[in-house]
Structure formats: C-alpha cells, structure tokens
C-alpha cells in the first residue's frame, strides 16, 4: 500500500512506548500493532485525532504517501 504509517518514528521521537501510547489513545495493543506494522486497511478520524493528540503531532507526521514503485524497493 502506498500509504506508510510512521507511528513508530513519532513514538521514537517522543520517546513513548507502545503500551503508553495504547493507553493514551485508548486502543488495544493488538490494534496498535496492526497500525504500526502497516497491516491496517483504514484509520478512523477519531483514532487519528487521538494519536495526534497523544504524540503532539500533525496527521502528516503519522501518515506518508510513498508511490508504489518506491515502496516496492523497501
């Protein structure tokens, strides 16, 4: 998928653990893991809002568009 989720990058910048973020965003670790590994098919605005609030960032910091050919090379 050309949309890359950079939650782990933002978490590292904010020095926040997965468990801590899960508690702040109020979602399960399993769902956060799905999001972090890029297996998620969609993200609700409410979840995105909670993540942005918890990580003190903008949606663009968490989500990034990488064209298919570039992401293939990863």
């Amino acid at each position: 998928m050309p949309i890359v989720v950079n939650v782990d990058v933002m978490m590292a910048r904010r020095k926040m653990s997965l468990t801590e973020l899960a508690v702040k965003v109020d979602i399960t670790l399993a769902n956060l893991s799905i999001l972090k590994t890029g297996k998620a098919k969609a993200i609700r605005f409410s979840t995105l809002e909670a993540i942005c609030r918890a990580l003190d960032c903008q949606p663009g910091d968490v989500l990034e568009y990488v064209p298919e050919s570039e992401s293939d090379g990863d």
Binding site: I27, L32, I34, K39, A40, K41, A42, I43, R44
Partner: protein
Amino acid sequence: MEPKIKISLPKVLHYLFLCLTLAAGLLFLLDLASSLGFTGHNPCIRGWVTTIGDFSKTKNGELQVFNWGERKFVMLELAGAQGLLQARYVAYLFFQHLQFALIAFVFYQMYRIFRNIDRGLMFREDNTRRIRMIGAAALAFPVANVVAARMIAGIAYDAGGQQIATAIPSLLSEQILLGALLALILISLAEIFRKGAFLQQEQDLTI
C-alpha cells in the same frame, strides 16, 4: 460467585448439530456394518419391496411386470443372489452409504458453522466455504439417492417360494431438481457470506 452460562440460540444449535453429527456417524457405521454382515448375519439386502404376481423379461433383459402385489419388508442374503444382482447391490451399497455420509458431513459442517458463530466469528472465509460445501452436498444427496434406487430397481427374485420385485422408482428426477434448487440457494447464501467476510475483514482492520 459462579460464572453464569449464557444460553443462546447459536450455542443450542452448536450442541444440537454436534449430537446430530455423532448420531448420523454412528448410524452410518451401524448400517454399514449391518450391510456388510458384521452384525451376526451374512451381507444382505434389507428393505421394502413389492411382491409381484405376473412378470416376464424382454429380449434385452428388462423386467416387465403385469401385476403388482403388496409392499413388504424383506431381507435377501447376498450369498443367495445372482452375479448381476451382487454387482448392482455393491453399487447400491456405495451410493446408499454415500447418502448417510453426506448427512453426517452436512451436520458436521453445520456444527462447525454454529461453533464459530457461538464464538462470535460469523462472517469468515471458512464459514463461506462450509456453506458452499453444504450446497454441493444438497445436490449430491438426491443424485446418490436416485443412483442407489436405480441400482436395485426392478429386480425380481424368488424368496421363500414367493416372487418379489424391488420397487421401480418414479419421479426421482424431481428430487434432483429440488436438490439443485437448494444447492443454488445455499451457494447464493455462501456468496452473501463471502461479501460479509470481506466487509468483516475491512472492519477488523480499521483502527
């Protein structure tokens, strides 16, 4: 405080189909053992036949019955039957027991579906596959029934000094038509489940 056990319709159906699967499996094994002569007597044909008074055979060996008598339940030992009858009986046994196996198979698939539903896993790929297989079984069942009936239809033999003929099945193709219709409905239902499974997966992967 003891945990409360919730009784729901899927749970009841889950255990009901488990019992039916076990019963059908047991019945299948008992009938097979009986037909093959493992239960004390020799392999035999058991079933309802029609006694006949007057019949002849055509040039190509087909039976022409002029007078049908009453229906009676008989048991004909396989050892006493002629070669052609034995071959037809073996084929009959296969298709007859295929029906039993299909019933047990359908009950088992229903049991697995309701076990999944009881666990809150309704729209899943395996449920879709199981409904599709039940649809196939719904078509295979009447086909096996018709073939089994044809195998021992119109056989005349002597039993205890009385001429007896197995019943010639009529309008059995209607069963196949009904089976095909049921299979079509089930396969359509499976298609709805397949779409449901896709939507469920989308929902599960929406964070």
